[in-house]
Symmetry: C2
Subunit: 359 residues, 2 copies
Amino acid sequence: MTRVTLQTIADRVGVSRMTVSNAFSRPDQLSDELRARVLATAEELGYVGPDPAARALARGSTGAVGILLTDSLTEAFGDWVATTFLASVADSLAMSGLALTLLTPGANHDVVPSRDVAMDGVLVYVCGPESTDVAWLRRRRLPMVGIDQTPVEGTAHINVDDRAGARDSAQHLLDLGHRRIAILTIGFDDEHGIVADGAVEPSGFAGDQRLRGWLDALDKAGVTPTVAIAPFRPAEAAYQAARQLLATAEPPTAILCFSDVYASQVLRAAKDMGLQVPRDLSVVGFDDSPLAVQLEPRLTTVRQDIQGKAQAAVHLLTTVLKARHAGADEPTQHEVLPVELVVRESTGPAPKPGRRKAG
Amino acid sequence: MTRVTLQTIADRVGVSRMTVSNAFSRPDQLSDELRARVLATAEELGYVGPDPAARALARGSTGAVGILLTDSLTEAFGDWVATTFLASVADSLAMSGLALTLLTPGANHDVVPSRDVAMDGVLVYVCGPESTDVAWLRRRRLPMVGIDQTPVEGTAHINVDDRAGARDSAQHLLDLGHRRIAILTIGFDDEHGIVADGAVEPSGFAGDQRLRGWLDALDKAGVTPTVAIAPFRPAEAAYQAARQLLATAEPPTAILCFSDVYASQVLRAAKDMGLQVPRDLSVVGFDDSPLAVQLEPRLTTVRQDIQGKAQAAVHLLTTVLKARHAGADEPTQHEVLPVELVVRESTGPAPKPGRRKAG
DNA sequence: CCACTCGACTTGACCGGTACAGAAGACTCG
DNA sequence: CGAGTCTTCTGTACCGGTCAAGTCGAGTGG
């Protein structure tokens, strides 16, 4: 039982192989009557359709784009922002009939997806520029769109205005009269706690941008924040860092957090230390994840439109794809999506300067 | 600037194209010295490696397997069980150097990933047998492993022992003295509420199996449960169904839930109706998701090893892949993974038969 | 010294399609 | 009525590799 190919069908129907191909891929190239006959014969022979691999080679395009996520996928899947983004990307791609291939990072075996898997283009989500996977993708000259990472010349990017969002949230606290403000942001894997004299080297683009944004506003107001960092995982680290912040001699009256998840840990720490939010302490999150409204009190946070980000990324990538196919210039623009400060109940006026005891 | 292919390099080095191919794919087929020279020339010409699409055609295998998830991906990504499974699958595949392609279901456009994307095999997760995507995959005769769905003859499957888990949890309640037991399980999209005389047609295989399991134990004990159903989404529906259950003339003293998420809604409903868990009401979840231990009280639930499920599925699929490649018989086994009842604080002895007032 | 094995390359076919430039007949139109 | 134009189909040349079966000279054992 040899495989059924276009030729098998062509022989059977008595036409050229090309005509059979057209019957499947270019219906307008042959008469309806013949097409029907071809299709019927194909059906009869159990032919499903042109072989995707062969078609990919001949056409120069597979129907899939890749996505490269940070590190272990399990890691990424634990993050609401990342999964939401991923889901939105997949749904957006579906409209173009494209599938999404998850590129497993790291060359464990001798086969490296970023180098060895066929795809039309690739989305790169929060990967450092030093990633070897990104290096492979670049060498392959695959159409690429970076999301939430440091823009690189010659590549298209989608970012959110983290900096403005952070600036606005810091300004919000200043407007409420806060002057002793702390920052709890993301740091590298092994450390957590208060950073001496704010010599922070935040991990990742978003961390960097947010920090800059907060400082934009605070510096201007002459406020020097205490900065604490915690790794993304485990969540407990953020809790500990929060306790440390709140246990200082002059504890902050407000904390700006890298994310809603961090903020939720701050809330917990505050509760455990007998502090009332927002009476004793104001807390600001980031992302406006579902968590933000589930918490008690609901979080003041910075909303980013993740679905919009995904759609923008997909749109940009498909544009690049089309341009390349048409031989035209590929756009390498930078799109920065707006964010919005959402004020809820976790922030309030700065407490009166009077004594306060934590514990 | 014409594309660099094996031939380009071969000409440059002065060897046959095959030798260059071997330099990349079969290092043992040529001398180290020559290989080094070939690789150097390739590097110099900016050649990244054999073209994946061409290789896929020639070799008959792409380095990716597909996964088909129910409905909209956004839907699936909202579910802890599904995302955890997905992440574990991706990680397991990474070990074999395989990438994972998300098949976007539903033929929106004229291009249907399930039919048009090249892949070596496919995992099918909770898809009804009537899915057109599954039909395409079947017609393509792709190696396939079904997960959490009704086994079909001739296909390999991985399932968890939902039925036994359900049976155990029902028995647990019986052992605690409960006799007025209700079930809150998953139903089709548009309905929710109490099902008259238990004529339930649960949606999906897991729902069916769990229901059977509960009834296995209850029937044997002569207990006839009240059954309520709610669609998977929105979560609110489960809450409403729970309220309905608890508002009946003879309210149940225990509720068996389809999932931890459903159980969390029951908990909320109970709280809102002034019932104490487990004093007035026992609640059992399913899955042992992180939610189970976050809730207050922590849920008694049935643990399933999702990561193990993913690993088993990947292992089975790669076995099928290897078998097919070797021309051997492909296993079509059914693996059923064990589950485990985890007793926590949401279940307790049945309240004394005395009066009880809800509200 | 010769048949025999072995390593290192080469040869030619093949994987299953698609793109593109005809070719043959039917139709239109001045 | 002949030239131009469709429509419909065919032929040929790729796409960029891999596979299996050589070829050829060098080593090897009897």
